[in-house]
């Protein structure tokens, strides 16, 4: 039964038509996937379905009623954003039922015991094994994610649940737990809209799928009628061969650029490996295995307990990011929004910030040389923006990523560490990024460490892959000669015949 129906939706912003004549309907008891590149119009559409944005044209009907004429019925639709937005210093129970009135607590005074009893039921349903009196900030990230969905569902009216990339920061185990819960909600007869860049999840979970491209609906299919290559072609509008590899030529690899020996720090111990100039070294592992911690320690952002890092044969002073950058070691963090971009500054200033010494004469930044430098980087890295003066926060995720990689390369580093650079980036931009990494490395000046939770992408891009499990390096594989299965077993902690220690 159709519960939510949008027809002929159009929404334009100055200079861009975000959603153009899209009609789509959602049924109770089904999971409907929405896929598309960054900027395809997914979030605009979803905001219209949720009643946050008003369309220029078209109608949204909820249970046959014109929703924008009776905005109250938007209460039937709950949107769960990608970013966590819990009340961190309040209890799980309070998080679940805020606002209390809407959740059925109509008394002037809230009785704590009743609140907890009610909350316990919901927590159990969502397999969150934590007492309801705990503070939201004190539970694990995956539990927080589940709590966020539970909160949306606890609203009694909620018939349509919109999940926007709910799995980006979850471990494999918690993803399957989340999917169990989603399926259960579906069986209860709710309608679920699921947005994700991960096609595996779409195929695993959804009953039907709608593809958006450039604001238009380009395809709709029952899941059993569509295969992966077709879906990818619909999403990106071009043929992308997922088997195609981007490994740098082996002969590009030269002398050792980075040597890590017996490094021990917060959450990992006794890590040793080497990286050559001209190669891409992949780091595989589950979320929480300690990959980011290892890299941030090498880079000097986190303190090291023991061990040594040598860059070009010279020992690196640990715990000092300023020194690392000057020595030629650059780290691009996974949390692009919080730790990567300088959101309010222009694209130009975001690029030049790490190359200021090069363009400064007698203490003064030369506007001319800054212009030349930023133009060169913007072109070389294909940064698409109306103007370099635009604040970077308005660029798409893919373009932000290209900007900060361009920024990193502007200081001519010897070693570049990319921590989950493809997170939240669509298929087409990912492929661009792979090619970009290969080209950088084949230039022969730089070695890249590439961290990713997507094993396929590591095997396609890296020359070697190191598997990390529980804070230790448990194996190292030449990607040409290794199967996915082999690496996967190492990264989930099973014994393998993957060689331990660095290959020479």
């Amino acid at each position: 039964m159709v519960v939510l129906e949008a027809s002929g939706i159009r929404k334009a912003f100055p200079g861009v038509v975000a959603v153009d004549d899209v009609s789509v309907s959602f049924e109770l008891g089904r999971i409907h996937g929405i896929v598309g590149e960054n900027g395809a119009g997914k979030s605009t559409l979803v905001k219209i379905l949720d009643g946050v944005l008003r369309p220029d044209r078209g109608t949204v009907r909820i249970e046959e009623e014109d929703a924008f004429a009776h905005p109250r019925i938007f209460a039937n639709v709950s949107y769960v954003p990608q970013e966590l937005d819990l009340f961190r210093n309040m209890t799980l129970a309070e998080n679940l039922f805020m606002p209390f009135r809407k959740a059925g607590f109509k008394d002037v005074l809230i009785r704590q015991s009743r609140l907890y009893a009610e909350a316990a039921r919901w927590l159990e349903l969502f397999q969150i094994d934590v007492p309801p009196s705990r503070l939201a900030k004190d539970i694990s990230v995956s539990n927080q994610q589940l709590l966020q969905i539970a909160r949306a569902t606890a609203n009694r009216l909620c018939k349509v649940l919109i999940l926007d990339e709910p799995t980006t920061s979850l471990t494999t185990k918690s993803i399957s737990r989340l999917f169990d819960v989603i399926r259960q909600l579906k069986n209860e007869g709710r309608s679920i809209i699921f947005i994700s860049h991960k096609l595996d999840e779409i195929f695993d979970l959804c009953d039907e799928v709608t593809v958006l491209r450039n604001g238009m609906k380009v395809a709709y299919a029952e899941m059993q009628d569509v295969d992966r290559p077709t879906l990818i072609r619909q999403i990106s509008g071009r043929d992308i061969d997922e088997k195609f590899t981007f490994r740098p030529r082996a002969q590009a690899a030269q002398d050792v650029a980075l040597e890590v020996e017996g490094l021990t720090g917060r959450g990992f111990s006794d890590v040793s490996f080497t990286l050559r100039r001209g190669e891409i070294l992949g780091f595989a592992g589950l979320v929480g295995a300690g990959r980011s911690e290892i890299m941030q320690t090498i880079f000097g952002y986190l303190p090291a307990k023991r061990g040594q890092v040598r860059l070009d044969g010279r020992p690196l002073r640990l715990g000092d990011t300023h020194h690392s950058i000057h020595a030629g070691l650059v780290y691009l963090p996974e949390e692009r929004r919080a730790q990567g971009i300088l959101p309010l500054l222009s694209v130009r200033h975001n690029i030049s910030i790490s190359a200021l010494p090069q363009i400064t004469t007698r203490g003064m930044i030369s506007a001319g040389r800054e212009e030349v430098l930023t133009q060169r980087i913007a072109q070389a890295f294909d940064i698409r923006t109306a103007s370099l003066e635009r604040p970077i926060m308005f660029l798409s995720g893919g373009n932000q990523q290209k900007t900060i990689i361009g920024r990193a390369m502007a200081s001519s580093p010897k070693v570049l560490i990319l921590d989950e650079p493809t997170k939240g980036i669509d298929v087409g931009s990912k492929t661009d990024l792979y090619a970009l990494m290969r080209n950088l490395v084949e230039g022969g000046e730089v070695g890249i460490i590439f961290i990713s939770s997507d094993l396929d992408e590591l095997l396609r891009c890296a020359n070697r892959v190191v598997a990390v499990y529980n804070g230790r390096i448990v194996g190292e594989f030449l990607t040409e000669a290794s199967s996915k299965n082999e690496v996967f077993r190492a990264m989930i902690g099973e014994k393998t015949n993957g060689r331990n220690g660095p290959l020479q």
């Binding site: 990011t321 730790q339 971009i341 959101p343 910030i353 400064t360 003064m364 001319g368 072109q379 308005f394």
Partner: protein
């Protein structure tokens, strides 16, 4: 801002896309003004000037103008410093107390110990820089919150001030330094000249040096700045120190102007400097705005206070009016941002 003699949008954009041509100097100034969010303030300022000159015939008289810009100078100097800290994502609530204490210490050196007045003037500035540095060290090394630290330190500085001076003014300041506060060069009061010099230095540092860029970067995201290898704590510390120095400068010039060291110097500068920054487009959350904008903000506050006196409104109403300007300015800013967001 819209009326600037610059060809509308497309040509400038095209230049950027083609890559070869550099935007014209005018275009760059326009972008700078736009980025610094000072355009709206400039219009508001001109509007207030227009209203003021209609409301009172005395407003534009040479004498009144001199007095307006002389009193503007003090708040202007402090506000530019405060703006630097706000851009960095910090703030200093002890600027007034630092000005007062430095003024008293400088005065004591001259009067009680007979130190050369100019040397004492400079030593007063050094004291200010040290007080600022203490704030900075507490904020960076102990990772304390700037608001709490500087409220606390304001109490400490004011307390020391009152203990030493016993709450009384230090009189008989040597007349050699009076010209720094009372002198007039080419019709322009000396404090205003000093403020213009400060403006030059601060604008140069914030816009044309790596140090300035680092300030904006840290204000945008301290974590990102750390990961970019920017010496975050050094920049924060030095900025606190600079702000201490500027506060002391305002305090010392005030001593030269009054001919006495009043322990109460700087009392109103704390909130007014923050208000001026906010009016001038500096975000309380850091990362945007410019010290020049803060100076404009200070000018708006100064002109409004002046016109209240000129048209004979009760002085009791002045405080309320100053408060209203702040609220009106930030409301306008919020409204314009809402409009910009809706357009995005």
């Amino acid at each position: 801002m819209r009326a600037a003699p610059e060809p509308v949008g497309p040509p400038a954009k095209a230049a950027v896309k083609e890559g070869a041509a550099r935007p014209s100097a005018v275009a760059r100034v326009v972008t700078r003004v736009r980025q610094a969010r000072t355009g709206g303030v400039l219009i508001a300022f001109l509007l207030i000037i227009a209203i003021a000159s209609v409301a009172s015939p005395y407003f534009l008289s040479a004498f009144n103008m001199q007095s307006v810009i002389r009193s503007l100078a003090f708040l202007g100097i402090v506000a530019m410093g405060q703006a630097c800290l706000l851009i960095l994502g910090e703030l200093d609530l002890s600027v007034g107390a630092i000005a007062g204490l430095s003024g008293v210490l400088g005065g004591i050196l001259m009067v009680w110990f007979g130190v050369d007045p100019f040397l004492s003037f400079v030593l007063g500035l050094v004291f200010g820089a040290i007080f600022g540095l203490v704030n900075g060290l507490l904020v960076t090394f102990l990772e304390l919150n700037a608001l709490v630290v500087t409220v606390g330190m304001a109490g400490v500085y004011l307390g020391i001030n009152l203990v030493i001076s016993e709450g009384k003014a230090i009189v008989d300041i040597p007349p050699q330094i009076y010209f720094l506060g009372q002198g007039i060069v080419l019709g322009i009061p000396m404090p205003f000249v000093i403020m213009l010099l400060v403006l030059l230095v601060v604008v140069f540092v914030t816009m044309y040096t790596p140090f300035g860029r680092y300030m904006y970067a840290i204000g945008n995201s301290r974590e990102a700045a750390q990961i970019l290898g920017i010496p975050v704590n050094l920049v924060r510390m030095l900025t606190f120190m600079g702000v201490g120095l500027l506060s002391a400068l305002a305090g010392m010039v005030m001593v030269a102007r009054l001919g006495t060291s009043q322990p109460s110097i700087g009392e109103t500068w704390v909130l007014d400097s923050i208000a001026a920054s906010v009016i001038g487009g500096v975000a309380l959350t850091g990362g945007v705005g410019s010290p020049a904008g803060a100076l404009l903000g200070a000018a708006i506050i100064g002109v409004v206070q002046n016109i209240i006196v000129l048209v004979g409104v009760s002085p009791y109403l002045q405080t309320a009016v100053s408060g209203m300007i702040v609220v009106a300015a930030i409301s306008l800013d919020a409204i314009s941002r809402k409009i910009a967001k809706a357009r995005q």
